[in-house]
Symmetry: D2
């Protein structure tokens, strides 16, 4: 914490600030400058809520220094986290593919897609059981009926099931029938849900919120980890901006930014990140080239008939081509899971 005093602040104002700092058990370091004084604060273990200083007389600005997160940091754990789901992994040198339809619609649909997903070498099958929709009048997912279908897929194709929990009770059902709990962008700061996921033994795939800063996203992961569940996978899925040519603006710089701070694996979702089928493959290539640990891709056997997100789902053959392209780029990467090219 650094408190910057106004040029007009008096010695008395400065003393008053120093007194408050010492009253809450911290150390004040006054640094007189050419035009004004700044006061550094040390002695804190975690972040200090400095907004309390903002309205004191003579204070120009309060600048936060200590970061508010702990468990997600490389400081705490210098080695990258590898999330294990049975014999499948996310975060090591193998590139993880999570693919499937937006929502489970029928046994035929799920089965046709799962077959293509398995054939591509992917180990994870996604498909919503409960589908959070902006409008109350659109398809909301099959609900619990979908579990029968997903259980059959898991058995027949040996794929791990990734599905979204929209409320706490869903976590119970995913723990019973699924493999990875997805927390969606709209629920990134649904703290009750984060805590419930934190008490699960299953890994959690945490999507970035639509307007989440990196810090807010990492703090959402911290909520899960603070409950004891350290198997968190971050998922960049685009943020809301003024741009109109895509549904969201995919912020691929978040991948190296997270690598610098955190040991958690991070994957990219170019399907939601663009919202349009023709952009998914180029952005998937970019996602792997930037160093992500994997991709989440929407694929449908008949996209034009999909009950949700029809514009962004790839056909089975487009999906097969995407995988081929992505593998070509991944073959250039180093084998240490650090998201670097061999030549680096």
């Amino acid at each position: 914490m650094l408190i910057v005093m106004k040029p007009t602040a008096t010695a008395r104002d400065i003393d008053a600030v120093v007194n408050v700092i010492e009253a809450i058990g911290l150390r004040a370091h006054a640094m007189p400058g050419a035009t004004r004084t700044a006061i550094g604060i040390t002695g804190n273990e975690g972040p200090v809520d400095g907004r309390r200083f903002e309205n004191l007389t003579g204070v120009a600005e309060v600048i936060r220094v200590t970061k508010p997160y702990k468990l997600i940091t490389l400081d705490l754990r210098p080695d990258k986290t590898v999330v294990r789901v049975g014999d499948a992994t996310i975060g090591d040198s193998k590139f993880a593919i999570i693919a499937g339809p937006c929502a489970i619609e029928s046994r035929d649909q799920a089965s046709a897609v799962a077959k293509a997903v398995q054939r591509s070498g992917a180990r994870f099958f996604r498909g919503c059981v409960w589908k959070p929709r902006t409008s109350p009048y659109t398809f909301q997912g099959l609900g619990e009926k979908a579990w029968g279908i997903l259980t059959a897929i898991r058995e027949e194709f040996g794929l791990k099931i990734v599905t979204e929990a929209v409320e706490e009770s869903h976590v119970d059902l995913i723990e019973k029938h699924g493999d990875v709990i997805q927390i969606g962008a709209r629920n990134m700061q649904n703290f009750s849900l984060l805590k419930r996921a934190g008490r699960s033994r299953l890994p959690v795939l945490l999507k970035r919120g639509m307007a989440a800063t990196l810090e807010e996203w990492l703090l959402a992961a911290e909520y899960i980890m603070a409950e004891g569940n350290y198997n968190v996978i971050l998922c960049e899925r685009g943020v809301r901006t003024f741009a109109q040519h895509t549904r969201n603006t995919l912020d691929l710089a978040s991948v190296p930014a997270i690598r610098r701070i955190s040991h958690l694996p991070v994957i990219v979702d170019p399907s939601h990140g663009t919202g349009t089928a023709y952009m998914v493959t180029p952005l998937a290539r970019a996602g792997i080239a930037v160093g992500a640990d994997g991709l989440m891709i929407e694929v449908h056997n008949q996209p034009e008939l999909a009950l949700s997100d029809s514009a962004q789902a790839l056909t089975l053959s487009e999906y097969a081509q995407l995988i081929e392209q992505v593998r070509a780029i991944h073959s250039l990467m180093t084998s240490d899971g650090e998201g670097q090219l061999k030549t680096a």
Copy 2:
């Protein structure tokens, strides 16, 4: 729905689109233009999911026409909704003030603030029982212990209690002890929570999400109303933008925009909308001048010691001055609750 074909689209491409339109039971209106053909769709009762047309051959663009909401509209209900909470109202010609601390911290704090709120003529007392916080390591509210304090406030000062439900079980408790259910910005698209609030007999104050378009916000209200609860109050609290001089950018144009579309009352929260005490009063004045039905204001007996949001809480005397200023402007308004100045 309007489907715009590419200049290169063939008669066959156009026929194929028309066939799909007719196959789903709607009427197609082809409009050949100088350089390309557009196809209008009618016959639909609600919105058509046009994204299914996007990847058909020859299609350049799909433009949505029908709005996805119903119950919130002036088309459905041309008279403005007045929400009644006992003998207090929101949405008529009286200006509603909801004021109180960010969170309930102690009986002394709540009591000191409630006294000032009552004295100002406000009818609603706000104060979080459960406080959603970005970091898991900061003060999360007193939880159920706060209810004893709030019950005493309600009895002693005759104020209506407005508090935020962070999860579904909280709605049960607010129904037992409170008067208005608040849904926070972070939960604006927590659809399970919206549905639960929709099944309550209490009014719901619905804050705009940090990155919510007007349409998404109104559809969140529609979720509540679709369950049978028509007493929804919208609350503009700022949106996330690149601007750094405030915590959020207060979008006051949303007030006239909502008035044009919806019968629901809308209030403004300049405390969260700016995040800084010195800006709250000017923006409160602007909120009433733009035509809002009320204000939500954070006030604390000792802001510098507040356990949350200390930088944006007004002192008791700043709050009293704000009320005086706001009443002066409100006295210029017409008495029909339409948010117009008398001179208009």
Copy 3:
């Protein structure tokens, strides 16, 4: 400037940073904390470019402290600037109205509008001679032919002429025929144009750029003032955000934010700030209530036939009503030009 070292930084890393600081003639203040060391820098007169420290070994973060502007600050000049244009003023207790059509289209149009502007008591007439348009295929203004019309308006109605300079040569012409040089949002960082305006004897109305932070906007004013022209009027006209219900998001919090930092007057443009006629009056009321020194309003004798910005122009009678409403609110303000309500 504050340099935050990583927890893993060695004493050697810290020394290296201290050495660089001293090498550029400044003083280093090392503050060892519980987990890491921060190093304050003093001795600088202006801002230090701290980005040079970012890639040094052991550096976690570089935090800027000193603000980069000087001439615009209340530190330099504690009294508010009042811009004088002949006998008209902007920045004192009188509320300034700048009104007129988007662009000068004909003598009849300009004359009809100017008559209404004069009748309203406004002292400033706006109207583009050169109109910067997003598309090269739309109306670009009458160009120099418009000057004859404006000169006649100035003489007949005694109004001061405000018009936009799109390139440096335009400033010469405005100096010859006009009264206030407007720099538009798209040119807020056209530094050559800013410098040229800074060498003029005419006041400059500087619109905020579409994506400008407060700091960038104030630095653009600093460019003008650094050339010797201290008569700068700031104009908030909305910024670009994800919101779709308005053309721009009017950020009224910029008014109190500027008041805290700068002595320059600031006005609000609700016409460009919303882009839609029905919103202009409510947001104009909000602009004055928030404490702005004036308004810029687009008005047209036949908006539906306007050659540009037709959707946001008020009719003559809508404009008259706006002025009446705005005056009613302004009559509540204190007479010191500080943008406060009398009751405050």
Copy 4:
């Protein structure tokens, strides 16, 4: 153009709209629907300014259909533009690298960097002569003194010179001494400058504005082309968003979006797009993987001493590694310059 009437619009309202349409020489197509009528407009050659209809009685919404650009489109020119600069090209199957320091600082600096750029196989050398800076108090470039240095570089290393024109007179100098005119992000809508560049025989590299939609960016290119200069190279350099972990948010989806609409080549600038050296290489890899025609990279022989943008400049050895990595990915691409992977 599609005009959507309100459900309450009368037959008279509809007729009035139809009359206006016919009065301006176009054809109206009324489409009565279940709840309301929509009116299509055809007969227009270019876009119609539909905002004039917005305030007519009974009109709910006006939806634009025709795009405002012509020359940039694939409709007009189905083959991709290849920009030729002597024997160097941008837009064909060879990947173009434009590299160099932010600004020319000295002969030694320029020469050291140019040597590395030449050695990497790049054909274009960038370096600002005039440097647009947010603050008037920071280094603004060497100005005309830099030309001597650049001329020597061009001769000694055979590199093509790319430099930014900040005002119209700079274009004259670039025509004399340089090879490619760069228009910076802050000047993307400086229409006078665009027109001047449009009258040049040199290719123009047009950076995307900080808050530019795709349409605005393409219309800026259209301004240049409308003057007769068809050699335009688009450059994605990130847009302004709420995100704080980068200086700008690099919007790589603009690359496939432009490919769909336009024949113009598009390159990516990960230096400005991220603002931080450690992110430049990962995002450069992503830029090529997404299908861009080239990269613009900032490199400096001593980044920690650079007079501008020091935090984002690569060292000479980091630059060499970047080139190696980018070439590895580019070797997987098809040879038709369409930005596709061979396997596609």
